[in-house]
């Protein structure tokens, strides 16, 4: 996997359009947000605003906010793990399946949830898990339970809902990577006496590590930024950082505090991404997925 490195080539100029777009419409607005997190008001619409650290002070001084951050990260990790455990077998099957129709049908299974939209999917889980939903009604009808199971309004249902939404992202990321692993390597291992399981563990799995890393990072980043699902599934009794940010914007009208919380979320994510990147880069023995 040697790249032809001869210094900057003319191709590098292709970065220009994206760089410009990002600079103007991402970094500038974000810079505005970062600024707002340090000001007493919104400089765009208000006159006298002064610098202040009070929003960050508020976050650091109140253990409730650490709790919220912890909940957000925990849900993110659990979702990522679940998505990986569920998504990998499916991705493996899709990558290795021979029939074209079979592949198309599996692809539809994966894409259909994504295209129904996050609001609809969450509604579907509500329809399944709430006290009067399908699962509880069926179990009560069969006489297996007398009181409805508390399947909703807790962290379990949030992780379940988020996993369902993000498994397709994990699968689609993994399918490409696993597909590129030459099957003959597995066969060679088996010819040398390894069981299929061992061939998988010692050949396929390590080679798919970049895909695992990429998929996990994607799912984690999405899970910690999720808003609609935790709101609808958690019954408002679980508070995640995006929910708090939204609440600050929509009902407390405190854009400065919301911006500060957002910057905290961004920093945490970047730190985790860099750390994870480094670690897995060392583990897989190849330079990280840049």
């Amino acid at each position: 996997m040697n790249t032809i490195r001869t210094g900057i080539t003319p191709i590098a100029w292709l970065i220009a359009p994206s760089a410009l777009l990002f600079a103007l419409f991402f970094f500038l607005p974000m810079g505005l947000m970062a600024m707002i997190s340090l000001l007493t008001g919104n400089p765009v619409v208000q006159a006298n605003v002064t610098l202040t650290g009070k929003y960050y002070q508020r976050i650091l001084s109140d253990p409730y906010y650490f709790e919220v951050i912890g909940t957000t990260l925990r849900i993110g990790l659990l979702t990522t793990l679940a998505a990986l455990l569920i998504g990998y077998p499916l991705a493996h099957w899709m990558a290795r399946i021979r029939s074209r129709t079979g592949y198309a049908m599996l692809m539809m299974t994966v894409l259909a949830p994504m295209l129904t939209g996050v609001v609809v999917r969450t509604f579907a889980w509500m329809a399944l898990l709430s006290d009067k939903g399908a699962v509880n009604q069926t179990l009560t009808g069969l006489g297996l339970i007398s009181k409805p199971l508390p399947l909703m309004y807790n962290e379990f249902s949030i992780v379940l809902g988020l996993t369902h939404i993000y498994v397709p992202y994990m699968v689609l990321t993994l399918v490409g990577v696993i597909g590129r692993i030459d099957e003959r390597l597995e066969h060679a291992a088996q010819n040398l006496g390894a069981s299929p399981l061992r061939a998988f563990l010692e050949v396929t799995l390590p080679l798919s590590l970049p895909g695992i890393l990429a998929g996990s990072l994607l799912v984690f980043a999405l899970a910690i930024s999720a808003y609609v699902t935790p709101i609808l599934m958690g019954g408002f009794q679980i508070m995640t950082l995006p929910m708090l940010i939204y609440q600050q914007i929509s009902s407390s009208f405190n854009v400065g505090f919301a911006a500060a919380l957002g910057m905290v979320l961004l920093t945490i994510s970047l730190v985790l991404v860099i750390a994870y990147n480094r670690i897995l880069g060392l583990v897989s023995g190849q330079h990280d997925l840049q």
């Binding site: 292709l14 947000m33 009067k132 399908a134």
Partner: protein
């Protein structure tokens, strides 16, 4: 020998069971949504009491929903084009351009994924206020494009970094100039990555909620926003009808892709 054979059988069985369960897990909520799309009662009720098409009627005759559906499709199409253009070019530059600090630039390109999209939306809204442009359609597309570009960059990069550069070397050894090499070797082989990114971009835009929240204007709302607002007032099967329509769309998209470009090429190189 028998032990190995049994464990092989068991292993294969587990593999099949796990995968079957995953498929059920993915499809169960969809199935439920189909059920509610035809159940006549206007709230969540199980088991369903009948079959009725009233929600489909409500969905298709609702001007709000139809406008929203149309807008979502239009915005998704425009976003896909824009994100693919920007993202693929950026990925190419990152993989072949020999830029200093490639890793940092890549992280920057992927950063819209990390920040809660609601802040992205709010920040853009405030910028548009500053520029005094109101809440135009291009502003919405821009927001969607920003959050979709990372996907295109990721998938295209993944392909570019993993394919055998000896193919490019070989082409150049055979006398092809750099441009011709890119056109006739690199680009066709990158197609699956770019296509995968484009599919992601379409889906991400069609399903986008937080960015749209601040950037839609009255009468010009995207489907997720309309659905969410609807959900606040009515918890009935119209949501189900909307999702059935979306699913049929998914089926069409997948079939269409399969016929035109061939999905298999996406998986292998």
């Amino acid at each position: 020998m028998t032990v190995a054979a049994i464990s092989l059988r068991l292993g294969r069985f587990c593999y099949r069971v796990v995968n079957a369960s995953v498929v059920v897990f993915l499809l169960a909520p969809i199935a439920i949504v189909f059920v509610f799309a035809v159940n006549p009662t206007p709230y969540i009720q199980f088991p369903p009491v009948g079959v009725s098409l009233r929600w489909f009627e409500k969905f298709f005759t609702s001007r709000d929903f139809m406008n929203a559906l149309q807008l979502s499709l239009e915005v998704a199409a425009m976003t896909t084009v824009a994100a693919t253009l920007f993202g693929a070019s950026a990925a190419l530059a990152l993989a072949r351009g020999g830029l200093p600090g490639t890793r940092v630039i890549t992280a920057i390109m992927l950063s819209p994924l990390m920040l809660p999209a609601i802040l992205t939306g709010l920040a853009l809204f405030q910028s548009y206020v500053l520029l005094d442009v109101g809440r135009p359609l291009w502003g919405l597309v821009l927001g969607h494009t920003l959050v979709s570009i990372p996907y295109v960059v990721r998938t295209t990069l993944a392909v570019l970094q993993n394919f055998d550069t000896r193919l490019e070397e070989a082409a150049q050894n055979l006398g092809a100039g750099p441009l011709r090499t890119y056109f006739e070797v690199t680009l066709p082989l990158t197609k699956p990555g770019v296509l995968a990114g484009a599919v992601f971009a379409f889906i991400v835009s069609f399903d986008q909620f937080p960015v749209s929240l601040f950037l839609v204007s009255p009468g010009r709302e995207t489907l997720p926003i309309t659905l969410f607002n609807y959900l606040r007032f009515d918890l009935d099967g119209t949501i189900g009808a909307a999702s059935v329509v979306s699913i049929l769309l998914a089926v069409l998209v997948v079939f269409g892709l399969d016929r035109t470009v061939g999905l298999r090429s996406y998986a292998k190189l």
